[in-house]
Symmetry: C2
Subunit: 92 residues, 2 copies
Amino acid sequence: MEDTMFNDLLASVGEAKEILQHKKQPSRSFMIDEPDAKSIRARLKMTQDEFAGLLNISVNTLRNWEQSRRKPEGPARVLLGIAATHPEVFAH
Amino acid sequence: MEDTMFNDLLASVGEAKEILQHKKQPSRSFMIDEPDAKSIRARLKMTQDEFAGLLNISVNTLRNWEQSRRKPEGPARVLLGIAATHPEVFAH
DNA sequence: ACAAAAACTACGCCATTGACTTACTTATTT
DNA sequence: AAATAAGTAAGTCAATGGCGTAGTTTTTGT
């Protein structure tokens, strides 16, 4: 595979860079402040086991999140946001 | 916004579900076993500060990863994989 | 070319999380 | 109705994430 497809993606990455450099306002945030893992999972109609596998965490950790015993860390919050808004990227 | 777009996405989520249930083999993995944060960041041509912001981690954590002092956890590995293969989802 | 600023390396320390375990309850399926 | 799957709840501990400090390298501006 050539790099052309990857280079195409760099256009939107450039946008991401601008957003992060605060030169541009994001149309809508891709990060959720306090993501509700339970409701996101419910929308995707997955079991705890399935959703945990998707996020590459143990079921127990997902349960800790859903029961508000622990709260997901930074990267996990971003990942939950992606699961909520762009679940298709997990498929391939 | 209606739910139609979201429902469209559910098709691919269904595929993700099948993959996770081991009923289907993924064409190619979306998760990297040992993601090299440094090289992924290099391809995206971002500074450590920018990339850390994208992943919602502190710069120090990214540095720990790049210098092999710590290794990213489950969800962070998935997120790095997405950054490598689908960086456009971070833009909006 | 040179100084200033930005980017990066390196590491010590501590609070919080993630993973594992056990026990129990609720829902689903056959 | 019994068996199986799914989910609630909570205790323990190692590893990570975040923060601080100090020094080095690279980039930028004049």
